[in-house]
Protein backbone atom coordinates (compact mmCIF):
# COMPACT_ATOMS: atom_id res chain seq x y z
CA UNK A 1 0.00 0.00 0.00
CA UNK A 2 1.28 3.48 -0.85
CA UNK A 3 1.32 5.66 2.22
CA UNK A 4 -2.16 7.17 2.52
CA UNK A 5 -2.00 10.93 2.27
CA UNK A 6 -3.60 11.44 5.70
CA UNK A 7 -0.35 10.27 7.34
CA UNK A 8 1.01 13.72 6.49
CA UNK A 9 -1.21 15.18 9.19
CA UNK A 10 -1.23 15.22 12.97
CA UNK A 11 -3.48 16.65 15.62
CA UNK A 12 -1.18 19.01 17.46
CA UNK A 13 -3.71 20.61 19.78
CA UNK A 14 -7.12 19.95 21.26
CA UNK A 15 -9.33 21.79 23.73
CA UNK A 16 -12.89 22.46 24.74
CA UNK A 17 -14.76 25.47 26.00
CA UNK A 18 -16.86 25.45 29.10
CA UNK A 19 -19.56 22.80 28.54
CA UNK A 20 -22.97 22.94 30.18
CA UNK A 21 -26.68 22.52 29.93
CA UNK A 22 -27.66 26.19 29.73
CA UNK A 23 -24.67 28.47 29.64
CA UNK A 24 -26.47 31.35 27.89
CA UNK A 25 -23.27 32.21 26.07
CA UNK A 26 -23.18 32.64 22.32
CA UNK A 27 -21.74 29.96 20.08
CA UNK A 28 -19.08 32.37 18.86
CA UNK A 29 -18.04 33.15 22.42
CA UNK A 30 -17.65 29.45 23.22
CA UNK A 31 -15.81 28.84 19.96
CA UNK A 32 -13.32 31.61 20.69
CA UNK A 33 -12.70 30.18 24.16
CA UNK A 34 -12.01 26.70 22.83
CA UNK A 35 -9.94 28.07 19.94
CA UNK A 36 -7.59 30.08 22.13
CA UNK A 37 -7.13 27.11 24.44
CA UNK A 38 -6.43 24.74 21.55
CA UNK A 39 -3.99 27.12 19.87
CA UNK A 40 -2.07 27.44 23.13
CA UNK A 41 -2.26 23.68 23.68
CA UNK A 42 -0.60 23.21 20.29
CA UNK A 43 2.17 25.63 21.20
CA UNK A 44 1.03 28.06 18.51
CA UNK A 45 -0.29 31.59 18.27
CA UNK A 46 -3.20 33.07 16.34
CA UNK A 47 -0.70 34.16 13.70
CA UNK A 48 0.37 30.55 13.07
CA UNK A 49 -3.15 29.38 12.19
CA UNK A 50 -3.70 29.57 8.45
CA UNK A 51 -6.77 27.42 8.01
CA UNK A 52 -10.25 27.00 9.51
CA UNK A 53 -12.55 24.03 8.99
CA UNK A 54 -15.92 23.50 10.61
CA UNK A 55 -19.03 21.37 10.52
CA UNK A 56 -21.70 22.17 9.46
CA UNK A 57 -20.87 25.79 8.66
CA UNK A 58 -23.50 28.47 8.69
CA UNK A 59 -26.58 28.65 6.51
CA UNK A 60 -29.37 26.23 5.75
CA UNK A 61 -31.91 24.74 8.12
CA UNK A 62 -29.25 22.93 10.14
CA UNK A 63 -26.68 25.72 10.15
CA UNK A 64 -24.12 26.16 12.88
CA UNK A 65 -21.52 28.66 14.01
CA UNK A 66 -19.87 30.43 11.11
CA UNK A 67 -16.20 29.83 10.34
CA UNK A 68 -16.12 33.30 8.80
CA UNK A 69 -17.25 34.85 12.07
CA UNK A 70 -14.47 33.08 13.94
CA UNK A 71 -12.07 34.11 11.18
CA UNK A 72 -12.93 37.73 11.78
CA UNK A 73 -13.33 37.55 15.55
CA UNK A 74 -9.69 36.62 16.06
CA UNK A 75 -8.44 38.37 12.90
CA UNK A 76 -6.94 35.23 11.45
CA UNK A 77 -5.08 35.50 8.16
CA UNK A 78 -5.95 32.32 6.29
CA UNK A 79 -4.75 30.34 3.33
CA UNK A 80 -7.78 28.02 3.38
CA UNK A 81 -11.22 27.87 4.96
CA UNK A 82 -14.13 25.44 4.72
CA UNK A 83 -17.42 24.81 6.47
CA UNK A 84 -20.12 22.54 5.12
CA UNK A 85 -22.85 20.13 6.07
CA UNK A 86 -22.68 17.83 3.05
CA UNK A 87 -19.53 15.93 3.95
CA UNK A 88 -18.47 12.69 5.61
CA UNK A 89 -20.40 13.38 8.80
CA UNK A 90 -19.25 15.68 11.55
CA UNK A 91 -15.67 14.45 11.20
CA UNK A 92 -15.74 15.52 7.56
CA UNK A 93 -14.44 18.85 8.83
CA UNK A 94 -11.36 17.00 10.11
CA UNK A 95 -11.00 14.97 6.93
CA UNK A 96 -10.91 18.13 4.85
CA UNK A 97 -8.47 19.84 7.19
CA UNK A 98 -6.17 16.83 6.87
CA UNK A 99 -6.39 17.00 3.09
CA UNK A 100 -5.70 20.74 3.11
CA UNK A 101 -2.58 20.21 5.23
CA UNK A 102 -1.39 17.27 3.16
CA UNK A 103 -1.91 19.27 -0.03
CA UNK A 104 0.07 22.19 1.32
CA UNK A 105 -2.86 24.59 1.23
CA UNK A 106 -2.44 25.24 4.92
CA UNK A 107 -0.01 24.28 7.69
CA UNK A 108 -2.11 24.59 10.86
CA UNK A 109 -5.88 24.25 10.48
CA UNK A 110 -8.22 25.06 13.34
CA UNK A 111 -11.15 22.63 13.23
CA UNK A 112 -14.25 23.23 15.33
CA UNK A 113 -17.75 22.06 16.11
CA UNK A 114 -19.83 24.21 18.43
CA UNK A 115 -23.29 23.43 19.76
CA UNK A 116 -25.65 25.71 21.67
CA UNK A 117 -28.50 23.25 21.92
CA UNK A 118 -28.79 23.42 25.68
CA UNK A 119 -29.70 27.09 25.68
CA UNK A 120 -31.27 27.14 22.26
CA UNK A 121 -33.00 23.79 22.58
CA UNK A 122 -36.51 25.18 22.83
CA UNK A 123 -36.74 25.57 19.09
CA UNK A 124 -35.13 22.23 18.23
CA UNK A 125 -37.03 19.05 17.55
CA UNK A 126 -34.61 16.90 19.51
CA UNK A 127 -31.47 14.82 19.26
CA UNK A 128 -29.86 14.33 15.93
CA UNK A 129 -30.29 17.86 14.76
CA UNK A 130 -33.72 17.15 13.30
CA UNK A 131 -36.01 20.06 13.00
CA UNK A 132 -38.69 21.60 10.89
CA UNK A 133 -36.86 24.70 9.79
CA UNK A 134 -37.51 26.31 6.44
CA UNK A 135 -36.32 24.68 3.25
CA UNK A 136 -37.05 21.12 4.29
CA UNK A 137 -35.07 18.80 1.98
CA UNK A 138 -37.22 16.46 -0.14
CA UNK A 139 -36.02 13.41 1.78
CA UNK A 140 -37.65 14.74 4.96
CA UNK A 141 -40.95 15.51 3.24
CA UNK A 142 -41.94 11.85 3.51
CA UNK A 143 -41.11 11.62 7.22
CA UNK A 144 -42.21 14.87 8.86
CA UNK A 145 -45.93 14.48 7.87
CA UNK A 146 -46.08 11.34 10.00
CA UNK A 147 -45.14 13.06 13.23
CA UNK A 148 -41.54 11.91 13.22
CA UNK A 149 -39.48 15.07 13.36
CA UNK A 150 -36.64 13.71 15.44
CA UNK A 151 -33.70 11.47 14.65
CA UNK A 152 -34.88 9.57 17.75
CA UNK A 153 -37.79 8.29 15.67
CA UNK A 154 -35.80 7.52 12.55
CA UNK A 155 -32.99 5.71 14.34
CA UNK A 156 -35.44 3.86 16.60
CA UNK A 157 -36.73 2.14 13.46
CA UNK A 158 -33.26 0.73 12.77
CA UNK A 159 -32.75 -0.33 16.37
CA UNK A 160 -36.13 -2.08 16.28
CA UNK A 161 -35.21 -4.04 13.17
CA UNK A 162 -31.81 -4.93 14.70
CA UNK A 163 -33.66 -6.30 17.73
CA UNK A 164 -36.03 -8.25 15.49
CA UNK A 165 -33.33 -9.78 13.31
CA UNK A 166 -30.63 -10.43 15.92
CA UNK A 167 -32.43 -10.64 19.25
CA UNK A 168 -30.81 -7.48 20.58
CA UNK A 169 -32.36 -6.43 23.91
CA UNK A 170 -33.00 -3.18 25.73
CA UNK A 171 -30.68 -4.40 28.49
CA UNK A 172 -27.90 -4.62 25.91
CA UNK A 173 -28.56 -1.05 24.78
CA UNK A 174 -28.64 -0.17 28.46
CA UNK A 175 -25.11 -1.49 28.91
CA UNK A 176 -23.92 1.24 26.54
CA UNK A 177 -25.82 3.94 28.43
CA UNK A 178 -24.63 2.74 31.84
CA UNK A 179 -21.01 2.50 30.67
CA UNK A 180 -21.25 6.09 29.45
CA UNK A 181 -22.74 7.28 32.73
CA UNK A 182 -20.12 5.49 34.79
CA UNK A 183 -17.31 7.08 32.78
CA UNK A 184 -18.94 10.52 32.88
CA UNK A 185 -18.59 10.55 36.66
CA UNK A 186 -14.85 11.19 36.20
CA UNK A 187 -15.33 13.94 33.61
CA UNK A 188 -15.69 17.35 35.28
CA UNK A 189 -17.31 18.74 32.11
CA UNK A 190 -19.93 15.97 31.80
CA UNK A 191 -23.62 16.83 31.97
CA UNK A 192 -24.98 13.72 33.73
CA UNK A 193 -22.78 12.20 36.42
CA UNK A 194 -25.14 10.55 38.91
CA UNK A 195 -24.78 6.77 38.93
CA UNK A 196 -27.35 4.89 36.84
CA UNK A 197 -28.54 1.34 37.41
CA UNK A 198 -30.19 -0.96 34.90
CA UNK A 199 -33.46 -0.42 36.78
CA UNK A 200 -33.05 3.34 36.33
CA UNK A 201 -32.38 2.78 32.63
CA UNK A 202 -35.34 0.47 32.06
CA UNK A 203 -37.68 2.51 34.24
CA UNK A 204 -37.29 5.90 32.61
CA UNK A 205 -40.05 7.11 30.27
CA UNK A 206 -40.08 5.90 26.70
CA UNK A 207 -39.45 8.39 23.89
CA UNK A 208 -39.75 6.32 20.72
CA UNK A 209 -39.69 2.53 21.10
CA UNK A 210 -37.23 0.96 21.68
CA UNK A 211 -35.59 4.17 22.91
CA UNK A 212 -36.24 5.58 26.35
CA UNK A 213 -34.89 8.88 27.57
CA UNK A 214 -31.54 7.37 28.55
CA UNK A 215 -31.01 6.05 25.02
CA UNK A 216 -30.98 9.66 23.79
CA UNK A 217 -28.05 12.00 24.13
CA UNK A 218 -28.29 15.14 26.19
CA UNK A 219 -28.26 18.55 24.46
CA UNK A 220 -25.65 20.94 25.75
CA UNK A 221 -23.66 24.05 24.96
CA UNK A 222 -19.99 23.74 24.18
CA UNK A 223 -17.26 24.02 21.62
CA UNK A 224 -14.53 21.55 20.73
CA UNK A 225 -11.46 22.55 18.73
CA UNK A 226 -8.58 20.53 17.36
CA UNK A 227 -5.57 21.85 15.49
CA UNK A 228 -4.60 19.77 12.45
CA UNK A 229 -0.95 20.38 11.51
CA UNK A 230 1.59 18.97 9.10
CA UNK A 231 3.48 16.12 10.72
CA UNK A 232 6.73 18.08 10.39
CA UNK A 233 5.43 20.08 13.33
CA UNK A 234 4.95 17.00 15.54
CA UNK A 235 8.29 17.26 17.39
CA UNK A 236 7.48 20.85 18.37
CA UNK A 237 3.97 20.19 19.70
CA UNK A 238 4.39 20.73 23.46
CA UNK A 239 1.69 18.27 24.47
CA UNK A 240 2.47 15.70 21.84
CA UNK A 241 0.99 15.19 18.40
CA UNK A 242 -1.46 12.44 17.55
CA UNK A 243 -1.08 10.88 14.13
CA UNK A 244 -3.85 10.46 11.60
CA UNK A 245 -3.46 6.89 10.40
CA UNK A 246 -6.56 6.49 8.26
CA UNK A 247 -9.78 8.30 7.39
CA UNK A 248 -13.12 6.70 6.59
CA UNK A 249 -15.20 8.79 4.23
CA UNK A 250 -17.27 6.42 2.09
CA UNK A 251 -21.01 6.90 1.59
CA UNK A 252 -21.88 3.93 -0.60
CA UNK A 253 -25.57 3.55 0.19
CA UNK A 254 -28.45 5.91 -0.48
CA UNK A 255 -28.07 9.13 1.53
CA UNK A 256 -31.40 8.64 3.25
CA UNK A 257 -32.85 8.07 6.69
CA UNK A 258 -35.48 5.68 5.35
CA UNK A 259 -34.24 4.24 2.03
CA UNK A 260 -30.83 2.86 3.09
CA UNK A 261 -30.42 -0.68 1.80
CA UNK A 262 -29.91 -2.34 5.20
CA UNK A 263 -32.20 -1.50 8.12
CA UNK A 264 -29.79 -2.99 10.66
CA UNK A 265 -26.87 -0.66 10.00
CA UNK A 266 -26.34 2.82 8.63
CA UNK A 267 -23.74 4.78 6.69
CA UNK A 268 -21.10 3.88 9.31
CA UNK A 269 -20.91 0.53 7.53
CA UNK A 270 -19.21 2.27 4.61
CA UNK A 271 -17.14 4.78 6.54
CA UNK A 272 -15.67 1.95 8.57
CA UNK A 273 -15.00 -0.25 5.55
CA UNK A 274 -13.26 2.55 3.69
CA UNK A 275 -11.11 3.38 6.72
CA UNK A 276 -9.81 -0.17 7.01
CA UNK A 277 -9.05 -0.12 3.26
CA UNK A 278 -6.52 2.66 3.98
CA UNK A 279 -4.47 1.03 6.73
CA UNK A 280 -2.69 -2.16 7.63
CA UNK A 281 -3.90 -1.86 11.19
CA UNK A 282 -6.96 -3.90 12.08
CA UNK A 283 -9.75 -3.81 14.62
CA UNK A 284 -7.59 -6.03 16.85
CA UNK A 285 -5.02 -3.20 17.11
CA UNK A 286 -7.48 -0.70 18.53
CA UNK A 287 -6.98 0.16 22.22
CA UNK A 288 -10.02 2.38 22.64
CA UNK A 289 -13.10 3.22 20.62
CA UNK A 290 -14.83 6.57 20.86
CA UNK A 291 -18.04 5.95 18.97
CA UNK A 292 -21.02 8.15 18.33
CA UNK A 293 -23.86 7.52 20.74
CA UNK A 294 -26.33 10.21 19.82
CA UNK A 295 -28.59 7.26 20.49
CA UNK A 296 -27.35 4.20 22.34
CA UNK A 297 -27.90 1.85 19.42
CA UNK A 298 -25.64 3.93 17.17
CA UNK A 299 -22.62 3.00 19.28
CA UNK A 300 -23.57 -0.66 18.86
CA UNK A 301 -23.90 -0.19 15.11
CA UNK A 302 -20.45 1.46 15.04
CA UNK A 303 -18.96 -1.44 17.03
CA UNK A 304 -20.30 -3.84 14.42
CA UNK A 305 -19.35 -1.66 11.45
CA UNK A 306 -15.75 -1.35 12.63
CA UNK A 307 -15.53 -5.12 13.04
CA UNK A 308 -15.01 -5.33 16.79
CA UNK A 309 -17.60 -8.11 16.58
CA UNK A 310 -19.61 -9.68 13.78
CA UNK A 311 -22.69 -8.16 12.18
CA UNK A 312 -25.60 -8.55 14.56
CA UNK A 313 -23.35 -9.54 17.47
CA UNK A 314 -23.20 -6.08 19.00
CA UNK A 315 -25.79 -6.92 21.64
CA UNK A 316 -23.96 -9.89 23.17
CA UNK A 317 -20.68 -7.97 22.75
CA UNK A 318 -21.73 -5.12 25.02
CA UNK A 319 -23.96 -7.15 27.36
CA UNK A 320 -23.03 -6.72 30.99
CA UNK A 321 -20.62 -3.91 30.06
CA UNK A 322 -17.34 -5.62 30.91
CA UNK A 323 -15.91 -5.65 27.37
CA UNK A 324 -16.57 -1.91 26.90
CA UNK A 325 -15.43 -0.84 30.39
CA UNK A 326 -12.15 1.09 30.73
CA UNK A 327 -10.31 -2.10 31.65
CA UNK A 328 -12.14 -4.23 29.08
CA UNK A 329 -11.04 -5.39 25.65
CA UNK A 330 -12.62 -2.36 23.94
CA UNK A 331 -12.86 0.63 26.29
CA UNK A 332 -15.75 2.66 24.89
CA UNK A 333 -16.63 6.33 25.26
CA UNK A 334 -14.42 6.89 28.25
CA UNK A 335 -15.48 10.55 28.56
CA UNK A 336 -19.14 9.66 29.02
CA UNK A 337 -20.23 9.85 25.41
CA UNK A 338 -22.97 12.15 24.25
CA UNK A 339 -25.41 10.14 26.36
CA UNK A 340 -23.93 11.53 29.58
CA UNK A 341 -21.00 13.75 28.62
CA UNK A 342 -23.11 15.95 26.37
CA UNK A 343 -24.12 16.23 22.75
CA UNK A 344 -20.99 17.82 21.34
CA UNK A 345 -21.95 16.36 17.98
CA UNK A 346 -19.11 14.00 17.25
CA UNK A 347 -16.26 16.18 18.44
CA UNK A 348 -16.40 14.99 22.05
CA UNK A 349 -15.26 11.59 20.78
CA UNK A 350 -12.47 13.17 18.77
CA UNK A 351 -11.25 15.17 21.76
CA UNK A 352 -11.27 12.08 23.95
CA UNK A 353 -9.39 10.04 21.33
CA UNK A 354 -6.63 12.65 21.40
CA UNK A 355 -6.51 12.73 25.20
CA UNK A 356 -6.33 8.92 25.38
CA UNK A 357 -3.37 8.79 22.99
CA UNK A 358 -1.61 11.55 24.92
CA UNK A 359 -2.22 9.59 28.10
CA UNK A 360 -4.05 12.47 29.78
CA UNK A 361 -7.68 11.31 29.75
CA UNK A 362 -9.77 11.48 32.92
CA UNK A 363 -10.44 7.77 32.59
CA UNK A 364 -7.17 6.68 31.04
CA UNK A 365 -6.87 3.42 29.11
CA UNK A 366 -3.56 1.68 29.86
CA UNK A 367 -0.94 1.65 27.09
CA UNK A 368 -3.24 3.39 24.64
CA UNK A 369 -1.62 3.58 21.20
CA UNK A 370 -4.48 3.27 18.69
CA UNK A 371 -7.88 4.96 18.94
CA UNK A 372 -10.84 4.58 16.61
CA UNK A 373 -13.15 7.58 16.44
CA UNK A 374 -16.47 7.32 14.62
CA UNK A 375 -19.13 9.98 14.34
CA UNK A 376 -22.56 10.13 12.83
CA UNK A 377 -25.88 8.39 12.49
CA UNK A 378 -28.20 7.80 9.58
CA UNK A 379 -26.67 9.05 6.33
CA UNK A 380 -24.14 11.24 8.18
CA UNK A 381 -20.97 9.30 8.88
CA UNK A 382 -17.21 9.45 9.01
CA UNK A 383 -14.37 8.02 11.05
CA UNK A 384 -10.72 8.34 11.93
CA UNK A 385 -8.02 6.00 13.11
CA UNK A 386 -5.57 7.88 15.32
CA UNK A 387 -2.24 6.61 16.60
CA UNK A 388 0.24 7.72 19.23
CA UNK A 389 3.24 7.09 17.00
CA UNK A 390 3.32 7.11 13.23
CA UNK A 391 2.41 3.59 12.10
Amino acid sequence: MNEPIERQAVISGAAQSEIGRRLYRTGLDLTIEASLRAIEDAGLTVDDIDGISTYPGSGGPFGGISGAELHDALRFSLNWRDGALETSGQLGAVHKAVLAVAAGLARHVLVFRTVVEGSGGAVRAGGGGGGMGGGMPPAFQYLIPYGVTSAANWIACYAQRHMHDYGTTREQLGAIAINARTNAASNPQAIYTDPMTMDDYLGIRMISDPFGLYDCDVPCDGSTVVIVSHRDYAPDAPNGAVHVNAMGTALRGRPSWDQFDDLTTMAMRDSAASMWERTELTAADVDTAQLYDGFSWLAMAWIEALGFCGKGEGGPFVEGGSRIAPDGELPLNTWGGQLSGGRLHGFGFLHEGVMQLRGTANVQVADCEVAAVGAGGGPESGCLLLTKEIR
Partner: protein
Protein backbone atom coordinates in the same frame (compact mmCIF):
# COMPACT_ATOMS: atom_id res chain seq x y z
CA UNK B 1 -54.94 10.29 17.42
CA UNK B 2 -57.69 12.65 18.60
CA UNK B 3 -60.33 14.77 16.87
CA UNK B 4 -59.51 15.73 13.33
CA UNK B 5 -56.32 15.03 11.44
CA UNK B 6 -53.07 16.10 13.07
CA UNK B 7 -50.92 18.89 11.63
CA UNK B 8 -48.68 17.23 9.06
CA UNK B 9 -46.70 20.11 7.56
CA UNK B 10 -46.93 18.72 4.04
CA UNK B 11 -44.88 20.89 1.68
CA UNK B 12 -44.35 18.90 -1.50
CA UNK B 13 -41.31 19.37 -3.69
CA UNK B 14 -41.87 19.80 -7.43
CA UNK B 15 -41.92 16.12 -8.40
CA UNK B 16 -43.63 14.90 -5.27
CA UNK B 17 -46.95 16.72 -5.18
CA UNK B 18 -48.91 13.82 -6.72
CA UNK B 19 -47.97 11.58 -3.79
CA UNK B 20 -50.13 13.69 -1.49
CA UNK B 21 -53.00 14.40 -3.88
CA UNK B 22 -53.43 11.31 -6.09
CA UNK B 23 -55.14 9.45 -3.25
CA UNK B 24 -58.30 11.44 -4.01
CA UNK B 25 -59.32 8.45 -6.13
CA UNK B 26 -58.58 6.07 -3.25
CA UNK B 27 -55.44 4.61 -4.83
CA UNK B 28 -51.79 5.00 -3.89
CA UNK B 29 -49.54 6.28 -6.65
CA UNK B 30 -45.79 6.09 -6.99
CA UNK B 31 -43.46 7.42 -9.62
CA UNK B 32 -42.51 4.88 -12.27
CA UNK B 33 -40.08 4.98 -15.16
CA UNK B 34 -41.81 4.59 -18.52
CA UNK B 35 -38.67 3.07 -20.05
CA UNK B 36 -37.03 0.70 -17.56
CA UNK B 37 -40.32 0.31 -15.60
CA UNK B 38 -38.69 0.61 -12.21
CA UNK B 39 -40.43 2.31 -9.31
CA UNK B 40 -38.79 5.44 -7.88
CA UNK B 41 -39.16 6.92 -4.41
CA UNK B 42 -38.92 9.69 -3.44
CA UNK B 43 -39.89 10.97 -6.90
CA UNK B 44 -37.26 12.81 -8.89
CA UNK B 45 -36.76 14.55 -12.23
CA UNK B 46 -34.83 11.70 -13.90
CA UNK B 47 -34.87 7.92 -13.52
CA UNK B 48 -31.88 7.12 -11.29
CA UNK B 49 -31.35 3.81 -13.10
CA UNK B 50 -31.69 4.51 -16.85
CA UNK B 51 -31.76 8.35 -16.79
CA UNK B 52 -35.02 8.45 -18.71
CA UNK B 53 -37.26 11.46 -18.24
CA UNK B 54 -40.38 9.48 -19.12
CA UNK B 55 -41.56 9.36 -15.54
CA UNK B 56 -45.15 9.36 -14.39
CA UNK B 57 -47.21 8.51 -11.33
CA UNK B 58 -48.80 5.09 -11.53
CA UNK B 59 -51.24 3.37 -9.19
CA UNK B 60 -49.99 0.49 -7.07
CA UNK B 61 -51.97 -2.13 -5.17
CA UNK B 62 -51.37 -0.27 -1.94
CA UNK B 63 -50.35 -3.36 0.00
CA UNK B 64 -47.12 -4.10 1.74
CA UNK B 65 -45.29 -5.36 4.79
CA UNK B 66 -44.04 -3.52 7.85
CA UNK B 67 -40.23 -3.57 7.52
CA UNK B 68 -39.76 -1.77 10.82
CA UNK B 69 -41.54 0.69 13.06
CA UNK B 70 -41.40 2.77 16.19
CA UNK B 71 -44.06 3.79 18.65
CA UNK B 72 -43.57 7.47 19.29
CA UNK B 73 -44.52 8.31 22.88
CA UNK B 74 -43.34 11.90 23.17
CA UNK B 75 -45.22 14.96 21.93
CA UNK B 76 -43.01 16.75 19.40
CA UNK B 77 -45.77 18.64 17.59
CA UNK B 78 -48.73 20.25 19.40
CA UNK B 79 -51.89 18.57 18.12
CA UNK B 80 -50.06 15.42 17.02
CA UNK B 81 -50.91 13.43 20.09
CA UNK B 82 -48.83 10.42 21.17
CA UNK B 83 -48.70 7.51 21.20
CA UNK B 84 -48.67 6.81 17.48
CA UNK B 85 -47.04 4.20 15.29
CA UNK B 86 -44.62 5.22 12.57
CA UNK B 87 -43.59 2.45 10.18
CA UNK B 88 -41.53 1.88 7.09
CA UNK B 89 -43.67 -0.24 4.78
CA UNK B 90 -42.06 -2.31 2.04
CA UNK B 91 -44.21 -2.12 -1.03
CA UNK B 92 -45.39 -5.37 -2.64
CA UNK B 93 -44.46 -4.15 -6.12
CA UNK B 94 -40.85 -3.45 -5.05
CA UNK B 95 -39.73 -4.25 -1.50
CA UNK B 96 -36.63 -2.06 -1.90
CA UNK B 97 -39.01 0.90 -1.75
CA UNK B 98 -40.10 1.80 1.75
CA UNK B 99 -42.86 4.22 2.51
CA UNK B 100 -42.87 6.07 5.79
CA UNK B 101 -46.36 6.10 7.23
CA UNK B 102 -48.52 5.87 10.33
CA UNK B 103 -50.11 2.51 11.12
CA UNK B 104 -53.76 3.04 12.03
CA UNK B 105 -56.73 0.80 12.72
CA UNK B 106 -55.07 -1.20 15.47
CA UNK B 107 -53.64 -0.66 18.92
CA UNK B 108 -50.13 0.81 18.59
CA UNK B 109 -48.78 -2.04 20.69
CA UNK B 110 -50.09 -4.56 18.14
CA UNK B 111 -47.78 -3.31 15.37
CA UNK B 112 -45.17 -5.88 14.39
CA UNK B 113 -42.37 -6.25 11.87
CA UNK B 114 -43.71 -8.48 9.08
CA UNK B 115 -47.30 -7.31 9.57
CA UNK B 116 -49.25 -7.13 6.32
CA UNK B 117 -50.81 -3.73 5.74
CA UNK B 118 -52.78 -1.83 3.14
CA UNK B 119 -53.23 1.82 2.37
CA UNK B 120 -56.04 4.15 3.35
CA UNK B 121 -56.18 7.89 2.98
CA UNK B 122 -56.67 10.67 5.48
CA UNK B 123 -58.18 13.80 4.01
CA UNK B 124 -56.11 16.62 5.42
CA UNK B 125 -56.85 20.01 3.88
CA UNK B 126 -56.01 19.77 0.19
CA UNK B 127 -54.07 16.54 0.68
CA UNK B 128 -54.87 12.82 0.87
CA UNK B 129 -52.30 11.36 3.22
CA UNK B 130 -51.38 7.70 2.70
CA UNK B 131 -51.75 5.77 5.97
CA UNK B 132 -51.70 1.99 6.41
CA UNK B 133 -53.85 -0.38 8.44
CA UNK B 134 -53.42 -4.11 9.11
CA UNK B 135 -54.91 -6.51 6.57
CA UNK B 136 -57.36 -8.83 8.33
CA UNK B 137 -55.88 -12.33 8.53
CA UNK B 138 -52.97 -10.91 6.54
Amino acid sequence: MSDGPPPRFISPHAEGEFYWTAGADGRLHLQRCGDCRRWIHPPGPVCPYCHSRALAPEAVAGTGTVATFTINRKEWIPGFEPPYAFALVELDEDPTIRLGTNIVGCDVDAVRIGMRVEVEFEENGEFFVPLFHPIENG
